[in-house]
C-alpha cells in the first residue's frame, strides 16, 4: 500500500511541476512586434553580396539593402533610373554613359561616385582586379559584353561594349548589377557577403545563420524613407512549416505559398497577392529525331494537352496558360495577338494520323523539383494522360533536379523525345536567344536541347539584340513569337503567377513582375 501511496504522491507532484512549466513557457508567446516586418523566406541566403548570388530568394533581401544604376519601374519590367539619373546610348549601341545622382553615400559613409561603379564592375569582370578573388561571380556573363568601364568624372561613368547588346540595360537593373561599397569589399574581402553595405532604404544589422537576417531603416536614405523600422527575414525551408508560422502569427508575410495551402488564407485576417512574372513553363520537343521531327506532331502535342486543366487543377490557379515562348510580363515585347493552342484532342488525332505516327512510343524526362518548375511530377503525369488520350504511348523517366539538368542541357538526342523545362528571365532576349537559335544547340554551348532551327528566327533574334530602339526590338520579338508558335518547338504550357500572403497588419505591399521584393513602402501596425 505504502508504495502505491508514494507513487501517487510523486505522480501528482510531477504533474503539477510539468503543468506549471507548461504554463510559464506557453503564456508569453507573443505576436511579432509593431513596426517590424517579419518575412518568411524559402531558404537561408547564400551570401548578401549581389555579385556572388543567383537565387531569387537572396535577391529578395538584396534589393532592400542595395541599389543599382537603374531599376525596374514598379509594376513593370521596364528600366527606370535609380542611382543614375539619366543615360545616353551611342548611335552604334556600344557606349552607355550614365550620369550619377549627387550626394549619395553608402551605409558605411563611403561616397557613391563613378569610381565606386567602376570598382564594382572591374571586380566582377576583370580577372586581374585585386578583389576578383572575392568571387566566384556566377552571373558575371550578364555583363560579358562590357569591354571597359571608365570613370569620366566623379559623376559620369561610361561602359564600352565589344558589340551592340540591347539587353545591357535590363541586365543592369537585375540584382547582379546592384552596387556594393568598395570600402566594405576592401575591409571584409571574401566575407563581404556577410557584411552587406549598399545605398538602399534599409541597412544591414545582423545575420544569424539559419535564424534571421535583420535590416533597419536607413534614416539617411536619399529617397523616401522606409515605412517600417526594421525587416526580419526568416529562412523557413519547409513549406508546411512556413504555412504554419503564417497561421500562428510568427511571420507577417510569406512568399511562394504552395497552391494547396492557399485555401487556408481565405479569410479577412490575410491578404493574398498575385503577380504574373517573366516565367514560362514548357516542354522541349526533340525536333531532331523521332515523331517530333515532324512539325504536325509537335502541333498535335500542343493541341492534345489540356493546359487549362493543368493551371486550374494541378496548379490551383497559380499560373496562367502560356501562348508562346515569351511571357506576357514583358508587356512591351509581348505579341498580344497570339492565342494559346486550344485544347482539341480531335484535331491532335487528325494531325497524328496525317503524320502517320499514331501509337508512337515516346520518352518523357520529368524532374522532381527545381527552380520555377512548379509541381513537375503531377504536371508530368497529367501530360502523360493527355497524350495517351490521343494515342501516344509516353514513358516517364523522373530525375532529381541537378541530375535532370545534367541530362537535358547536353541535348535530348538519343535519350528522350520531350522534357519539362522552365525559365525565368529579365529580358525578352534571354530565353529565345539561349534556347531557340540554331547557334544555341547544345554542342555550341547553348540550351536549345530540342535542336529547333529556323533561319528567320535566328535573324530576328540577332537583329533585336543589336538594335538600340525599344520599339524596333518589340516589333522583332513579336514577329519571332508568331513564327515560333507556329513551328511549335515546345509545348507552351504555363506562365507562373508568384504569390504572397500578408496578415492584416501589413499595408501598402505589392508584388513585382520581376519577382523581387521591394519593401520600402510597406507599413505595419
Amino acid at each position: 500500500m505504502q508504495i502505491i501511496k508514494t507513487t501517487c504522491r510523486a505522480f501528482v507532484a510531477v504533474s503539477m511541476t510539468v503543468l506549471g512549466l507548461f504554463s510559464t513557457l506557453s503564456s508569453t508567446h507573443a505576436q511579432t512586434p509593431a513596426d517590424v516586418l517579419v518575412v518568411g523566406q524559402i531558404a537561408e541566403p547564400k551570401s548578401l553580396d549581389p555579385a556572388a548570388v543567383t537565387a531569387v530568394n537572396d535577391f529578395r533581401i538584396l534589393v532592400n539593402i542595395y541599389e543599382g544604376l537603374v531599376r525596374y519601374k514598379p509594376g513593370t519590367l521596364e528600366v527606370a533610373p535609380a542611382l543614375a539619373e539619366s543615360w545616353e546610348i551611342s548611335e552604334d549601341g556600344t557606349e552607355y554613359t550614365f550620369r550619377l545622382r549627387e550626394g549619395i553615400s553608402f551605409h558605411d559613409g563611403a561616397p557613391f561616385n563613378a569610381e565606386a561603379v567602376k570598382f564594382n564592375f572591374d571586380r566582377m569582370l576583370n580577372e586581374d582586379h585585386p578583389y576578383h578573388k572575392t568571387g566566384p561571380f556566377p552571373l558575371a556573363f550578364f555583363f560579358s559584353a562590357v569591354q571597359k568601364t571608365t570613370a569620366v568624372d566623379a559623376l559620369t561613368v561610361k561602359f564600352s561594349l565589344n558589340e551592340p547588346y540591347a539587353p545591357f540595360l535590363s541586365n543592369l537593373a537585375y540584382p547582379t548589377g546592384l552596387l556594393v561599397s568598395p570600402e566594405a569589399v576592401k575591409e571584409h574581402g571574401e566575407d563581404v557577403g556577410r557584411h552587406p553595405t549598399g545605398t538602399g532604404p534599409f541597412k544591414f544589422v545582423e545575420w544569424i545563420s539559419n535564424e534571421r537576417v535583420v535590416v533597419d531603416r536607413n534614416d539617411e536614405y536619399w529617397g523616401e524613407a522606409a515605412g517600417v523600422n526594421a525587416v526580419v527575414f526568416r529562412p523557413i525551408t519547409d513549406a508546411n512549416t512556413r504555412v504554419a508560422e503564417m497561421l500562428a502569427g510568427g511571420i507577417d508575410m510569406m512568399v511562394e505559398v504552395p497552391p494547396t495551402a492557399l485555401s487556408q488564407f481565405q479569410s479577412d485576417e490575410f491578404t493574398i497577392k498575385e503577380q504574373a512574372g517573366p516565367h514560362v513553363w514548357f516542354l522541349i520537343l526533340n525536333a531532331k529525331e523521332g515523331p517530333f521531327a515532324d512539325k504536325r506532331v509537335r502541333q498535335a502535342a500542343n493541341y492534345a494537352i489540356n493546359k487549362e486543366a493543368l493551371v486550374n487543377d494541378v496548379l490551383e490557379g497559380t499560373a496562367a496558360v502560356a501562348a508562346g515562348p515569351t511571357p506576357p510580363a514583358f508587356a512591351w515585347a509581348y505579341n498580344k495577338e497570339l492565342a494559346p493552342y486550344p485544347y482539341d484532342p480531335e484535331k491532335a488525332k487528325a494531325l497524328l494520323a496525317e503524320a502517320g505516327v499514331e501509337g508512337a512510343e515516346l520518352t518523357f524526362f520529368v524532374t522532381e523539383g527545381g527552380s520555377g518548375m512548379l509541381d513537375p511530377v503531377s504536371m508530368g503525369t497529367a501530360i502523360q494522360a493527355d497524350l495517351a488520350a490521343v494515342g501516344l504511348d509516353v514513358k516517364i523517366e523522373t530525375y532529381e533536379w541537378n541530375t535532370f539538368l545534367g541530362e537535358v542541357n547536353p541535348g535530348l538526342e538519343g535519350k528522350a523525345d520531350l522534357a519539362e523545362m522552365a525559365w525565368m528571365t529579365n529580358d525578352p532576349d534571354t530565353l529565345p536567344y539561349l534556347a531557340l537559335r540554331t547557334d544555341a544547340w547544345p554542342e555550341k554551348g547553348g540550351f536549345n536541347s530540342g535542336y529547333y532551327s529556323n533561319v528567320k528566327v535566328d535573324e530576328l533574334l540577332e537583329q533585336a539584340r543589336t538594335s538600340t530602339s525599344q520599339d524596333e526590338r518589340a516589333k522583332l520579338y513579336r514577329e519571332m513569337q508568331s513564327i515560333v508558335q507556329e513551328d511549335a518547338p515546345w509545348v507552351f504550357v504555363a506562365n507562373w503567377k508568384q504569390n504572397a500572403v500578408t496578415n492584416d497588419r501589413v499595408k501598402s505591399f505589392d508584388l513585382e513582375p520581376s519577382f523581387l521584393l521591394h519593401l520600402q513602402n510597406v507599413t505595419k501596425n
Binding site: 513557457l25 508567446h29 543567383t54 539559419n210 535564424e211 500562428a248 502569427g249 527552380s371 540550351f447
Partner: protein
Amino acid sequence: MAAYILKRLISAIPVLFGITLIVFLIMAMIPGDPATAILGAYATPENVAKINRDLGLDAPLFQRYFIWLGNLFTGDLGRSYSLNRPVLHEIIERFHATLVLAGSSFVLCAVFGILAGVVSAARQYGWADKAITFTVLIGISIPSFFLGMVMILVFAVRLRWFPVSGMYAIYGGGDILDLLRHLIMPALALAAVATGVVARMSRSAMLEVLRQDYIRTARAKGVKERKVILGHALSSAMVNIIPVLGIQAGFVLSGAVYIEMVFQWPGIGRMLVDAILKRDILLVQGGVVFVAACYVLFNIVVDVVQSLLDPRIKS
C-alpha cells in the same frame, strides 16, 4: 581499463579513414555538380568550367581527395560555397543546436523509457503495464516527422501555446526560457519512438532479472519491494539496457534530420540536407565525417561504460 580504451580508440581510426573515402567517392559519383547547382538554367559548359576552376574542382579526383584529407588533419575543412564561410565554423555552430535537441531527447527517452519499463515490469499484466504497453506501441508506430506536424497544428497553430519553429524568438528572446519554449515540441516528437523502444527493452530486461533466484531470495529475506526493484533488479538489468541506450543515441542523432526539417531547427541535419541538395561537396564531406566521428566516439563511450558495469565484457 586504459589499455582497453586505447585499443578501442585505435580500432576507430580505420573506420574513420574508410568514412572519409566513402563520403568523398559518393559526392564525386552522384550526378549533378556545384556549378550546375549554382548556375541552374544558365549552366553552359563554359560557365561551368569557370566555376569549377574557381572552386578548385578541376583537379584530378584523387589529388582532390588527398588535398582534402591533408587539410582535414590540420583541422581545415575548407570553405562552403553555398554558405560562403568556413565549413568548420558552420559545423560547430550547427552541432551545438543538434546537441541541444538530440541531447534533451536522449535524456527524455532514457528517463521516461526506463521508468516506464520498470513500472511495467513491476506491475506485469496490471493496468499500469497495459496502459504503458499500449502507449509505447503508439509511440513506436507514429513516424516522428508526422507527430511533429500534428503537434505544430495542435499546439502552435490552434492553441498557440508554443512557437511553430526555430530555436529562439526573433525579438525579445534568447534566454533559457525562450529556448525551452522552442525546444519542447521537437524534443518530444524526436523522443517518442526512442522512448518506446527503451521502454520495451527495459521491461523485458527487468522481467528477465525478476525471474532469477536471487530476487526471490531477497524478497524472502523481507527486503522492501522498492529496494528489490530499484536496487537489486534494475542495477543488473542496466547491463542490458545500456547498449539499447547507445543505439537510441545514434537513432536520435539521425532522427534529428527529419525533426530539424519540420521544426526548422538550425541543426546539423538540416544543414546536411540543404548541402546535399546544393551539391556543397566540402560541407557534406565535413558534416558527415564530423557526425560519424561523434557516433564512433559515442559507441566507444557506451562500450566502456558497459564494461565498467560488467567486467566480463572486456575479455
